[in-house]
């Protein structure tokens, strides 16, 4: 089963989305680019439509595409399916055994009297014939894609023992060409349902999620100076958090959501500060004439890592949230920057330079063993999926900025890009509570 899904797109997903004032931030496209070594064969049978249901979203297709993007599953192409049962009772398991499947998903969609749909589905083990999971998900007509992502999350969790991240979102910055408008957008993890959070003629940078997934902090240069804003995604309300003289950059929410780490140069040159969002008290963590920037919290909240060139070249250091002595973490190479912790705190991902190439590398929290995650020349902005199994980062493809997501274990990688313009600075949301 080493046949790669190849460079031809397995899945092309397109969405026309519209920004303000008729600005079209056209298509965000997903393309699976890597192979799927060791991926489990699974058949997601097209769901039946009961009582004249016309859901408008192919639930099974969304579920299969989610599972494929994880790199852990290899959904069976529909044209190879000999039967299309919708209920457990209708399944002839021998057929699926012959076809070499490990797992089977069947389901059906029924309209609700009050509007929307009930989606009943079952996950079955092909060897034993047992039902591993059977559930009914209710959805509004508009929420069908999200319902499909939640079904994929449940299947993924059942089969891997880890939470799925298909019902999460990705924030990113996008622009059209040279010196054009810039937008901060949020899309579903599969690139659909993209919405503009803010757009501007001036640069927008550094989106950061609050731990509850309800707010984004970001840097905007509107008014010809940098400032950190915090915006509530539900209401659209936003608040200016920091607009000191000089740099206001790199916002990062603490794991408890009560504090925001940031880079400010108001006292002369860039240093790391923490703002208590309740009391508005600002604590300075570093005080060095070198550049200190890119703070990121350890999941435990007991320290932060940041980038500093105090040793001559940018390297990763760690410091307590109250400040004090900073300890150097990375020693390999002459450029290590923008570190971020994995959700379990056992790994760091960062950007490293070697031979003139900037790539994403994973290391342990002591900066010891290193493993390259990306293979481009100008890769940056790595961000972990909230289950720690995928890393999304920015890379270049044919001279354009695109996003790439790759499993932490090897497997299928995929690319999110626009048909024109740039996509950059991805930030993967936390798990969304419903």
């Amino acid at each position: 089963m080493q046949r790669p899904l190849s460079l031809t797109a397995l899945l092309l997903a397109a969405l026309l989305a519209w920004g303000s004032a008729g600005t079209a931030w056209a298509k965000l496209t997903i393309e699976i680019t890597g192979g799927v070594e060791g991926a489990q064969p699974i058949a997601v049978v097209p769901f039946g439509n009961i009582d004249g249901a016309k859901p408008g979203v192919d639930i099974a297709d969304v579920v299969a595409a989610d599972l494929a993007r994880s790199g852990k599953f290899k959904p069976m192409p529909r044209r190879e399916m000999l039967m299309t049962p919708h209920r457990e009772d209708d399944v002839d398991m021998r057929e699926w055994q012959v076809l070499g499947m490990n797992s089977l998903v069947v389901g059906e969609v029924t309209p609700r009297a009050t509007g929307g749909y009930d989606i009943r589905y079952a996950l079955m083990d092909v060897f034993s014939g047992k039902t591993l999971l059977a559930d009914t998900v209710t959805s509004t007509s508009k929420g069908l894609r999200n319902a499909a992502h939640r079904i994929a999350d449940a299947i993924y969790a059942d089969l891997t023992g880890e939470p799925g991240v298909f019902a999460t979102r990705i924030a990113y910055v996008t622009s059209r060409g040279h010196k054009s408008r810039v937008a901060l957008r949020v899309a579903d993890a599969d690139g659909f349902n993209a919405q503009t959070i803010v757009d501007s003629a001036e640069p927008i940078m550094s989106p950061a999620w609050s731990p509850d997934g309800r707010r984004l902090a970001y840097v905007s240069f509107e008014g010809r100076q940098s400032a950190i804003y915090m915006q509530d995604l539900g209401s659209g309300r936003r608040e200016r958090i920091a607009s000191y003289e000089g740099i206001n950059g790199s916002p990062a929410f603490s794991p408890d959501g009560r504090r925001l780490a940031m880079t400010l140069s108001k006292d002369g040159n860039p240093d790391i500060y923490v703002l208590d969002l309740g009391t508005r008290q600002l604590t300075r963590l570093t005080d060095h004439y070198a550049i200190d920037t890119e703070p990121a919290w350890a999941p435990s909240g007991d320290h932060l890592v940041f980038t500093s060139d105090r040793g001559g070249k940018p390297q990763i250091y760690r410091v307590a949230p109250t400040g004090g002595m900073a300890q150097r973490v990375t020693f390999q190479g002459d450029y290590n920057a923008a570190a971020e912790y994995s959700p379990d705190g056992r790994s760091l991902v960062m950007v490293t330079r070697e031979g003139g190439r900037f790539r994403v590398v994973m290391t342990d929290p002591q900066g010891g063993s290193r493993r390259y995650v990306s293979n481009g020349r100008l890769d940056e902005s790595p961000s972990f999926a909230p289950n720690g199994n995928m890393i999304i980062y920015a890379t270049q493809n044919n001279g354009r900025g695109v996003l790439a997501a790759t499993p932490v274990s090897t497997g299928a990688s995929h690319r999110l890009s626009r048909d024109a313009g740039e996509v950059r600075e991805p930030a993967w949301s936390p798990l969304m509570r419903r």
């Binding site: 940078m205 010809r224 003289e245 950059g249 880079t263 140069s265 100008l378």
Partner: protein
């Protein structure tokens, strides 16, 4: 710099004016997608803390700054990779501008620092500021009053030249003097 209110003071002032709403929050209009300009304009409405951008100095007719024959027409100094060191030709240009700024009391200049696209964006933001700082220190050493100068780093966010060639990179590592 008198337009810059310290945020704490600004918040207190805003609270005093708006009667207790200490945070600068405004709801979005329900129909329109949020543009920064809209949000910013809403923020300015009844909010003392929001800063109104200073109007740019109107171009004086026949200003040497706009005369392609004047040495002051050039307003960009370039840098080598990963340094904020001012090169000899940059120093020459900056001396010319220092003289002009010194003799023109109304002149206010923003020093906009930029980098090429290599390296992380936030680190480049800091590098751009380091370049703007270097130019500021140079101009001050040449006698320009520091209060006439302000710094703004855009990092790699505003390339002068698109693309990933050595040429584009060399044109993007720069400080622009914006009068």
């Amino acid at each position: 710099m008198n337009l810059h209110l310290r945020p704490v003071a600004a918040l207190l002032l805003a609270a005093a004016v708006t009667g207790g709403c200490a945070t600068q929050q405004q709801p979005l209009p329900p129909a329109a997608a949020p543009s920064a300009e809209t949000l910013d304009a809403m923020q300015r409405n009844g909010d003392v803390a929001a800063e109104v951008p200073a109007p740019r100095e109107p171009a004086v007719p026949l200003s040497p700054l706009d005369d392609p024959g004047s040495p002051l027409y050039k307003k960009v100094v370039y840098f080598d990779y990963d340094t904020a060191e001012i090169r000899p030709e940059g120093a020459e240009l900056l001396r010319t501008h220092a003289g002009y700024i010194y003799q023109t009391p109304s002149a206010r200049v923003t020093l906009e620092g930029h980098t090429d696209e290599r390296g992380t964006r936030d680190y480049n933001l800091a590098l751009g500021e380091r370049r703007a700082d270097a130019v500021q220190r140079f101009l001050v050493a040449e006698g320009v009053p520091a209060e006439r100068l302000s710094r703004l780093s855009y990092g790699e966010e505003r390339p002068a030249e698109p693309g990933s060639s050595e040429r584009a990179w060399s044109l993007n590592r720069r400080v622009e003097l914006v009068y």
